[in-house]
Symmetry: C2
Subunit: 326 residues, 2 copies
């Protein structure tokens, strides 16, 4: 799907799978193997947040739309994300130590350097998943469940599994432990694209799951800065989009898009897990679908990024392989 | 060649090429495509340093063995590397600004954090290639050539090209600009493995190229801490080896080994360029050859590294794919 060009050759190559589904769950277009079994990782966050809304917990705890966006986020631990999650926990009467995501160094360079200068250790609020975990804690409180909310048999994770199998239309064969210690359920590429199409068509249905899903999708594209952060692909591509779209990356080369205006769902996985390739291939898919303009600078930076030497010479470029997407 | 396991599946997969050559230049064993065209990147540093020794420049400038190791190094910019290159430049009557490798943030965490705390910007001495560039500058001085020693038509780079084609036994189809702005010549996997076997058998020949090559190989395994640094694969695998071996990684998933005791050369490239995969596959190749013990902790950390969540749960592992190497 993607090639790294340097000098006279494609120095490295990345293979991938991609599936576009419509509201019927059928495949509109596919590359690679639609039946490949995958872990969607953080691309499944809007599924992991669905019980939070559908259960009534979000309503009961008066969550605002930015909090729903944060529940679906892999944020970069910038001050706005950290402060928002901290305030959310305070509203719940909880503290940083109630999180179970583990500490992570902030991906926001200014904050990271300031913390090094001040001798401050990163905490769980800086973890890119801390918004999702604040959502898990809200549901935990709503259900009156125990504090170990990342355990696979905890009511929160059992609720996530039920939603996951509902929206993918498949029984999950199992789960992996994600970087934030929560279970991450496996499905096929087709299952994940079908789930995203289910979200994309949610606004046309009136049941509680559908209205909850539509609220999460709307929150994601209303707050692209909360879903990821400055300079990040999800944020920039959502901002550059010519129509409403929710975009979410996941570890190991995953990306999804939800297109409510068309009822389409998109899932993409780079086989080797490389982010540089998933960003390029996903930007190419969005161009192919007409969701973004290939000339937009924030599209070009992912679609066709130049490679420079450390003294600034142009050394090569990352680009979609010939034949992808067309 | 390598799989990333998490939960119920191999979440990501890495393909690769590997070739083992003997002193005749013939292939002893190969995986993937021996004719694949590649850029060896920093795995070619002992070739880029060959004119430095063969020209008499190393002798004329009284270079000691640690400097020959640094000329072949991708060091991590730790204080010992930075100080050694700085002293070398001073011996030449040159300064940091005479380098053309560009600045790079030190890969040594303690130094990197100290520099952030002190508000110090990284300089060219911290660039992982600064030892190679000190070697280029030494040869430049010896030849009385101009200061732009990374230009492809500069006498230093022309000398490197001549050596590269001699030791690979192939005409190079061209070059890419490396991260340090020097040309990096293309060849095949077979060409690169043949070059490494040529180095591995150099001590059995008495011509100036061979004696120069043997000196570089001996310097590499005499100073594994200078060739990379604490915690790095090249350093730890050379230290763990049961016999003399020179090991050198390169960007985009490259590794080579030179086995002087057997006259064998090894080259490995991960198709997608991932270091996590090249380290695992290369450790597996070294075990396969009996160069290292698979039970050694510094071999296991590359051969079979566990993947943990940020709160410390065991989530998966990186491991050689079934069938590789045997």
């Amino acid at each position: 799907m993607v090639e790294i060009h340097r000098g006279p050759l494609a120095e490295s190559r990345h293979a991938g799978h991609a599936v576009i589904c419509d509201a019927t769950g059928g495949i509109v277009q596919a590359w690679g193997d639609p039946d490949a079994m995958i872990l969607p990782r953080s691309s499944a966050k809007m599924i992991q947040a669905l019980p939070l809304v559908a259960s009534g917990a979000a309503e009961a705890f008066h969550l605002a739309e930015p909090q729903l966006a944060l529940a679906c986020a892999s944020h970069q631990g910038a001050p706005l994300h950290v402060a928002a999650v901290e305030a959310w926990l305070k509203d719940l009467g909880l503290e940083e130590e109630d999180l179970r995501c583990g500490p992570e160094v902030s991906r926001d360079k200014a904050l990271r350097h300031a913390m090094i200068r001040d001798g401050e250790a990163p905490c769980q609020l800086h973890n890119n998943c801390s918004g999702k975990h604040a959502g898990f804690l809200t549901l935990t409180e709503h259900l009156g469940a125990g504090p170990e909310y990342t355990a696979p048999d905890h009511p929160v994770q059992q609720a996530v599994l039920e939603m996951f199998e509902t929206v993918t239309g498949l029984t999950s064969p199992g789960f992996g432990i994600d970087g934030c210690s929560a279970p991450n359920y496996a499905t096929t590429m087709h299952g994940m694209a079908r789930a995203m199409a289910w979200y994309a068509s949610a606004q046309d249905r009136s049941d509680i799951l559908a209205t909850s899903a539509a609220r999460l999708v709307a929150a994601m594209y209303a707050y692209p800065d909360l879903v990821a952060g400055e300079g990040r692909a999800c944020t920039l591509l959502m901002r550059a989009a010519l129509e409403p779209v929710a975009i979410k990356t996941g570890a190991e080369g995953f990306f999804i898009a939800i297109l409510p205006g068309r009822g389409l769902g998109v899932a993409l996985k780079i086989v080797d897990g490389a982010t540089r390739a998933s960003e390029c291939a996903f930007a190419a898919l969005l161009v192919h679908l007409g969701v973004v303009d290939p000339g937009h600078p924030d599209v070009r930076r992912f679609l066709n990024p130049p490679i420079h030497s450390r003294s600034g010479l142009l050394a090569g470029e990352i680009r979609p392989a010939a034949g992808f997407p067309v």
